[in-house]
């Protein structure tokens, strides 16, 4: 080993375990989601015109307070942290719950950096739902292209943002209009506010639909000092926990199925080829848990290592969730390819998640700069 090249220093790892409070929170969310949105209910909803479970969202926000966890008490939240947010994400990922949690996370991270406290408190309380109008695949570490302009430099917006997540039921949109400014746009509740047209797209992930948003003279309030990149980074860190929950669910479902399914007079789970695949998946998931926890703890503590932590968690989490969902479908065999089986809900979510907030390749390219491994 050469002593000449500098190597990155090692930041403090911090606590990667789950606290009792976090486990209690997990139990509350899981109990509610399992009761209100078991997979067959989630699947049935995808064939309806109401892709978002607004009733579940109301209960999650108002009974458990999931939207206010990272918001300080004096600003209308619960005064917990991104660690608790990440635990909620695990549970919602495990259930592919069709609620606008991830979009709310990014919006909250964005609003926390501004003086928009009234709106922040309303979002934290679940009274309002905000979405950040940025294309879903945009990740931290690269400038977000501004596709919406202020007409004549004033407060009417013109332009289009495609593929926005969690905007289907949002009543307020946060639109980047420059590197440091966002426009707050009242979006109305049913499709459009003044000058806002939302089109919900048929989406690969049926449980998290994309919306194309067009602004045509939409009135807006311009807010300075917003750090969109930081908000996306928080989003990527939390998404890694959602991916973890999904991967854990896929593994658990597959293990249960292989134990039950018999072929050639044996349980499928007794075949070494399949056991080793599941063992490899379990190993990968233990790593996804460690990287997701580290990203959440860096987000919670404002660690300067958050950019690295989020990029590692996102790059790794995307691949693990995808592996879990694809292996799950494969190991379920024919039944896994049917519409009536939940495997495709997880596959579609995992495949889409691996593009959300930056692909694994995007995060690795960002890391290349952060840890001095240039192309």
């Amino acid at each position: 080993m050469s002593a000449a090249a500098p190597t990155p220093s090692t930041p403090e790892t911090g606590d990667l375990l789950y606290s009792d409070v976090e486990e209690d929170l997990r139990a509350s969310v899981r109990a509610l989601v399992e009761k209100q949105a078991p997979w067959d209910v989630v699947l049935a909803r995808t064939d309806t015109e109401e892709p978002v479970d607004t009733d579940l969202w109301k209960r999650l926000t108002q009974e458990i307070g999931v939207a206010g966890l990272a918001v300080p008490e004096e600003r209308g939240g619960a005064g917990a942290s991104w660690r608790e947010v990440a635990v909620v994400a695990e549970e919602l990922g495990r259930a592919v719950a069709p609620v606008p949690f991830l979009g709310t996370v990014v919006a909250t991270a964005l609003l926390l950096g501004t003086g928009e406290d009234e709106l922040l408190a309303a979002v934290a309380a679940g009274e309002r739902t905000a979405a950040v109008a940025v294309g879903a695949t945009r990740g931290p570490g690269r400038p977000v292209p501004v596709t919406v302009e202020r007409q004549g430099g004033g407060d009417l917006l013109q332009g289009t943002v495609t593929a926005v997540i969690d905007a289907v039921t949002a009543d307020v949109l946060l639109v980047p209009v420059s590197g440091t400014e966002i426009a707050v746009v009242e979006a109305g509740v049913d499709g459009g506010g003044d000058g806002v047209t939302r089109t919900t797209a048929e989406s690969l992930d049926m449980t998290r639909r994309l919306t194309d948003v067009t602004f045509d003279g939409a009135p807006a309030r311009i807010v300075a000092g917003a750090d969109v990149e930081h908000a996306l980074r928080i989003g990527a860190a939390v998404l890694a926990s959602e991916q973890l929950g999904l991967a854990e669910r896929c593994l658990a479902d597959t293990v249960a199925y292989l134990r039950e399914r018999h072929q050639f007079g044996r349980a499928l789970a007794s075949y070494q080829a399949l056991k080793h695949r599941l063992a490899d998946l379990w190993v990968a998931i233990t790593q996804a848990r460690a990287t997701a926890r580290y990203a959440a703890r860096c987000a919670a503590d404002g660690s300067p290592d958050l950019p690295v932590a989020a990029a590692v968690a996102a790059a790794h989490g995307s691949e693990v969730a995808l592996l879990a969902a694809e292996d799950s479908l494969q190991l379920h065999g024919g039944i896994g390819f049917t519409w009536e089986h939940p495997a495709h809900l997880f596959l579609k979510r995992a495949r889409a998640e691996a593009l959300l907030l930056g692909s694994a390749d995007h995060h690795r390219a960002v890391l290349a700069e952060l840890v001095d491994l240039p192309a």
Partner: protein, 401 residues
């Protein structure tokens, strides 16, 4: 302060105070090293989670790191931890768990101080993954056992004073039930240690031939026939020793790879860059997983992640060193020296990349193959059915070999 008072709930601060008091009484710069280590053992500051009187204070396991760090900072002598890795990591916990009081007092002090190096006589040419099928025999003769057989892959045997040995005491019992566990004096007549040359050219490990070696019965650990359970305990500690632990970022095989990447931009290509970054991410993920495992153990919730950590590090060592050779281009074709010799125990990171590439092939074989570890994860963690075992209830002597 005496060596035997063990207050309940001994905390980090109490230990720090004891270390400080000890160092005040025993200046590392003026105390003879072996004397210092013996005194440290007597003070219970050797391995603080061991019982009082046996080098510890009955403290929590997680408190050891801070104690070691405090001694290291004070310039205290080391107890040959690399040379005695088998003794400290595997033999000691087994002796503590299964040994009698007199066995504790006989072996643990000189083991911890590094005066006596230990080795492990488990694997045989005919028994690797299937360790319980081993053939080395131990036949009772009065108060002694007469041992015959061949062991292999014995690291440190050429330095060792003592060896932990599993031998077959009842060939007519099914394989797991006919084993017993002994401590063998490596200087006893009939013990022959030969270097075993490996693919790197050197002889890091040994073959040990045991010919009519007489072991007194008071050097048996555990009951006659209980050898498998004792060995399992030893091996459980091996996986912890190899798999767990706290590591800095870019430690392990990715370190020299990343250093080479930074120093040689002329070797960069898009394909190699992608592989470099993937390995960096996977290494960081593995590092955090090991950290989390350590936190779980410190919190008293040991998880089964150790097997997974070992599988991962084996693969990463192999892939990183392989990529490093590719980055070296023509130099990747050269090899430093295939001359047979005994290697020093040293930091792998200082060795040539080609040497590491070859040495790391063993990482997925030694200490449990990656295939066996996948079985372990599948069966013990995920609860999947065990592999079919045709040999489980058949007398060992009747098994095909």
């Amino acid at each position: 302060m005496t060596s035997t008072d063990t207050p309940p709930d001994l905390g980090a601060e109490d230990l720090a105070a004891r270390v400080e008091a000890f160092l005040a009484e025993h200046d590392p710069s003026t105390t003879e090293p072996s004397e210092f280590l013996r005194e440290r053992f007597a003070a219970g500051l050797a391995w603080v989670h061991y019982p009082a009187g046996l080098g510890g204070l009955g403290a929590a396991n997680g408190l050891q790191t801070a104690v070691d760090a405090a001694f290291a900072e004070a310039g205290a002598p080391e107890n040959r931890p690399r040379l005695n890795v088998i003794g400290l990591g595997m033999a000691a916990p087994t002796i503590l768990r299964f040994g009698t009081e007199s066995q504790h007092r006989r072996w643990l002090p000189s083991l911890w101080t590094g005066e006596d190096i230990w080795c492990q006589l488990f694997s045989e040419p005919g028994a690797g993954s299937d360790l319980a099928g081993l053939a080395t025999s131990a036949v009772r003769d009065g108060d002694e056992w007469v041992v015959n057989g061949q062991k292999v892959w014995t690291s440190m045997a050429h330095h060792a004073r003592w060896g932990i040995l599993v031998a077959r005491t009842d060939p007519s019992a099914p394989k797991h039930r006919g084993l017993s566990y002994f401590v063998v004096d490596m200087q006893a007549p009939g013990v022959e240690v030969r270097g075993l040359r490996q693919i790197t050219g050197e002889a890091e490990f040994n073959e040990v031939f045991l010919t009519d070696v007489r072991i007194p019965d008071d050097q048996r650990l555990g009951e006659v026939g209980q050898g498998w359970a004792v060995a399992q305990y030893t091996l459980m500690n091996e996986r912890v020793a190899i798999g767990g632990g706290t590591l800095p970022r870019e430690s392990g095989a990715v370190g020299p790879l990343a250093a080479r990447w930074r120093e040689h931009p002329e070797a960069h290509t898009p394909g190699l860059h992608d592989r470099m970054l993937r390995l960096w991410v996977q290494t960081e993920a593995a590092r955090l997983t090991a950290e989390r495992l350590g936190q779980q153990q410190a919190a008293g919730q040991p998880g089964p992640e150790g097997s997974g950590v070992k599988i991962t590090y084996a693969r990463l060592n192999q892939e990183c060193s392989s990529l490093e050779l590719e980055l070296r281009g023509e130099d990747g074709l050269r090899y430093p020296d295939y001359t047979e010799r005994r290697p020093e125990v040293e930091d792998y990171g200082r060795r040539d990349a080609a040497w590491r590439y070859l040495r790391f092939r063993a990482n997925s074989i030694e200490g449990g193959t990656s295939e066996i570890l996948r079985n372990v994860v599948a069966e013990r963690v995920l609860g999947l059915p065990a592999e079919a075992r045709a040999d489980k209830d058949v007398p060992w002597k009747d098994l095909p070999r």
